[in-house]
Structures are given as C-alpha cells and as structure tokens.
Symmetry: C2
Subunit: 179 residues, 2 copies
C-alpha cells in the first residue's frame, strides 16, 4: 500500500524511515505505523527498488534505484480509482507523470466518482421509499452524496488545469495539434 508513497518520496531525495513517516503524515496519510513501514522498506530493498545507505548513528537512509524508478512510474500510471487514499497518493506525485497521462488519470477518476454518485443517489431513493430512515443513516447517505459531488467539482478544476498544461505544451507531432 505504501509502496507508491515510499518510492515517490525517495524519488525527491534519500530519506530514512522515521522521516518518511513524518512526510506521509503531512500528505494526509495518518495511519502509518512503523510496524508496516520498516517491513515495507525491507521488502522494497529486497526487490531492488531502493538501496540503503548508512547515515549517522542508527539512521539508515534509502535512495531510489533505477529499477525502483521504473517501478514507481509503473504504479503511478496504473489506474486505481476505486480507493480514495490510493488516488490521493498518486495525485501527490503527479508531477512525475506526463501531462497527457495526468489528464487521462483525472478523467478516469472522475468517471469512477460519477458512478459512485449514482450509486449513492439510488441508495438514497430506494431506502427512503421503504419507510422513513433514522436521522443518522439519512445524514450519512446525504453526506456521501455531498462529498462525492464536491470531489467531482474538485476534479473538474484539476482537469481544467491539466488541459491548460497540455495546451501550452509544444505538440509532439505536427499532426493532430488540437488545442
């Protein structure tokens, strides 16, 4: 789960485990325990994606290897729109994705959320039709709908931005230079 986050943070510069945890917290990934972080680091090291470099004292900084960079690019580009946290992690490293891939990724996520919104709305209708809901269940369903709508609106902003990025880029080919 943290593979993407770890590789992404190490891509910026080498860091040790304890520091990684602080960065992850900043990015909004609260529940990261050392019991999962350190095993994850060793797993990634065993697979050759990262390399340990002893630092002062007990510290053990890791740096991203070449195949680690490839693996990072692979995970970053693989569609994974079902889980919110996973999408957010990918977004945190969007700078390493090329503009066209960004746009594709954002659109896919949007589609997914639209589907989720429909599900939520249908749930609201069907449960309401068979008798009045208790206040808290109704509040939850309504909140599900509201947050999904607001997430879609947010994505629309990101999509609009991504489009301008593409438009300002020099086209790779002279054909199909659609702005």
């Amino acid at each position: 789960m943290f593979d993407l986050a770890i590789l992404g943070l190490l891509r910026r510069r080498p860091r040790h485990g304890y520091e990684l945890k602080a960065r992850l917290l900043e990015l909004g990934f609260a529940r990261v325990s050392f019991g999962s972080l350190y095993p994850a680091l060793r797993r990634l090291e065993k697979r050759g994606y990262i390399e340990a470099m002893r630092q002062t004292g007990r510290r053990k900084a890791y740096r991203l290897t070449d195949i680690g960079e490839l693996e990072f690019a692979r995970i970053l580009d693989s569609a994974d729109d079902d889980e919110d946290l996973r999408f957010n992690m990918r977004l945190a490293f969007f700078e390493y994705l090329e503009p066209a891939a960004r746009l594709r990724s954002l659109k896919q996520r949007r589609n997914h959320l639209v589907g989720r919104l429909r599900t939520a709305q249908r749930a609201m209708e069907s449960t309401t039709s068979q008798g009045p809901l208790d206040h808290y269940t109704a509040a939850l369903l309504q909140h599900n709908i509201g947050t999904t709508e607001s997430d879609i609106a947010w994505l629309d902003q990101l999509i609009a931005y991504a489009r301008t990025e593409q438009a300002t880029q020099v086209p790779r080919t002279l054909i199909g230079g659609k702005q």
Copy 2:
C-alpha cells in the same frame, strides 16, 4: 473490519451474504469482496455472534444471537475516530446507541478532525515555506484542509441535532437536569 457492519445489518433482520453486500454498497462501503465477506460470516458464526438458518436453495440467512447483540453494542460504543470508514459505519448504526453515547462519540470524532485539520494546515505552511509546491501537491493539501473543515461543519450539525435529542429526553435523574 466488516464485523460492525455485518452485525448491525443483521440486527435489523436476518439476511444472507449476497444481500449483505448490496446493503453495504448502499451505505457507501464499496470495496467488499465475497472473499472477505464469507470468511467473515463464518468467523462471526464460530464466535457465536450470528447463527445460520438455511433458506431456499443455496441461500443461507444469518440472524444475530444474544451475545452477538452484546458484541455489536460493544464495538459500536468503542471509540474509533481515526479511520473515516470506521466512523461512518458506526454512524450508520447510531440509532442503536443511546443519545448520551451518540453525543460523546460525535464530540470525540470532532476533536480528532480538529487535530487532523491542524496537521494539514501545518503541513501546508511548512511545505510552502521551503519553496513553491507543484500544483497537484498543493491542490491535494488544500483539498485535505477543505474536506476536513467541511467534515467538521457537518459534525457540528450532527452534534446540534444530538443535543436536541438529549434535551427532549426525560432526564434519568432529577439531580443535574441541566438542559
């Protein structure tokens, strides 16, 4: 993870596994696979919290036992504010919690979110101060702050509602009947 949800849905009435999945989807818990649902059902059965009652054909409906109801109450009342999904699940079954416990639970969750908001704001400041962020990371941090603020506002509404519930209740004791 689904224990609370399964027990809560079975508390309303007996259901079979396949149906449980549909109800869970309605409540907004999208990622529930049969590979986790059926083992969970047998786990709960082994512990005596639910009982199977064969239905037509292959169907196997489960009903909540007495100790299952106790276990449900225990999980429902245990604080668990760190994970969003878990809190939402508890909220979906708030009707089975007594008003005082609801209010306590909502306040705890609010406190937790306020802490998360502070973390997010500090992250925004500290990362901004050391050079400009790339657009998407900045958008993510800003979005973290925004959704947390909006969740707090939502909780404030729920807390206000919970207070009126308490106020309209007949006080259990004549002493301390603070409205």
